[in-house]
Subunit: 153 residues, 2 copies
DNA sequence: TTATATGTAATCCGATGAGTTACAATTAAA
DNA sequence: TTTAATTGTAACTCATCGGATTACATATAA
C-alpha cells in the first residue's frame, strides 16, 4: 500500500467537504503535494466513477456521490492497490525439498489472508465517517475552516 | 512489510524441519537468496530468542523452541516491522482548514487498525501450522524431501 | 593450527516513489 | 471567435530503499 492511498482519501474527503469543482492545484495545496500527482490519482478515481471532472474555467474535480455510500475499499481498488503485496518470492519450485518448494505458496496465502482482513476493515469506513470525525460539530459549525470560504484555500 | 518477513519465516521453518545446526549458506540456498542477507536476518531472530547460533565447523543456526509456541507475530516483531507503515504524511498542521489539519491523523488511525487486525491473524499462525501444511503426511513420511538427507540440500 | 562459520560493514545496482516541467487538448467565459 | 483556465499525460530528475555482492575480523570445532 503506497502513499497514493492516503493522497486519494484526503482528496476525496476534501472534495466532499467543498461540494464544488476544485482544481488539482487547490487539492495539491491542501494535501501538500503537486498538481500532476493529484491529476494522476484523480484519473483513477474517475475511471472508478468516484469523482467527476470538467475542463476549463471553473473546472476541476467534484465528488457528487453520497458520502455514506463510498468506502475506503472502493478507493483502494480504484487505485489497483493491495494492503500487502507479494513481490519477492522465496524458494524454488524445482528444488527436491518440500520447504523450498512449498514456502512461497504458504507466504502467498498469509498475505492473502491479511489482505482480505484489511479489505473488510476498509469496507466499514465511509467518507461520511471521516467527515464526521473531522467535523464533530457538523461542517456548517466548523470553527476553523468555517464553511471553507475563499480565505481558507 | 518487506520481503525480510518472507525470508525469516522460510528460514525458521527450514531450521525447524532440519532440527540441527544449519549454515547461512545452506539456508540461503534453500530460500534462494545470499548468505549475508540470511545472517543479517538471523541476528534479529537471535536477539528475539527465536533461533540460536554457534560458530565454527558444524555451526550455523538452530531452532530449538516448540514449533507450536512460535507464531508469525513473534517473527514480525523480531524484525521490527509492521504490516503497513505510515511514512508519507498528507496535509499540514498549520493550515486553517480542518481537512488539511486532520486528515493525517485519520490516516494514521486507519493504518493502526489494519496493523492490529493483521497482528491478530499472524498470532494465530504458528511454525507448527506451517510445517503441517508443508508435510500433510508427517515429516518422516515426506516423499520428496525424505527426512532431508544430504542429497536434498 | 587450520578450516569453517558468524558478525558486520562497505559498496553497487536497480526499482520505485515523488517532484518538476512541459505541452497538447479541452472547455468556459469574455 | 478569442482567450484564459484546466485537465491529461509524458518525460525527466532526484532520493530512497531493497537486495546482492564482497570483504574481512572474530570465534569455534576438530
Amino acid at each position: 500500500m503506497t502513499a497514493e492511498f492516503a493522497v486519494a482519501i484526503h482528496s476525496v474527503v476534501f472534495l466532499c467537504h467543498k461540494k464544488k469543482y476544485v482544481s488539482s492545484s487547490e487539492i495539491a495545496d491542501n494535501v501538500c503535494t503537486n498538481p500532476a500527482r493529484i491529476r494522476k490519482i484523480m484519473n483513477k478515481l474517475i475511471s472508478a466513477n468516484i469523482v467527476e471532472t470538467k475542463n476549463g474555467v471553473g473546472g476541476g474535480y467534484i465528488f457528487s456521490l453520497k458520502p455514506s455510500e463510498v468506502n475506503l475499499f472502493h478507493i483502494l481498488t480504484a487505485l489497483d492497490e493491495k494492503i500487502v503485496s507479494h513481490k519477492w518470492h522465496s524458494g524454488d519450485k524445482n528444488k527436491p525439498c518440500q520447504v523450498a518448494f512449498g514456502m512461497d505458496a504458504v507466504t502467498e496465502n498469509i498475505y492473502n489472508t491479511i489482505n482480505i482482513a484489511g479489505y473488510e476493515i476498509l469496507k466499514k469506513i465511509t467518507i461520511e465517517d471521516i467527515i464526521k470525525t473531522l467535523f464533530p460539530n457538523g461542517e456548517e459549525k466548523a470553527n476553523i475552516c468555517g464553511n471553507c470560504k475563499k480565505n481558507f484555500i
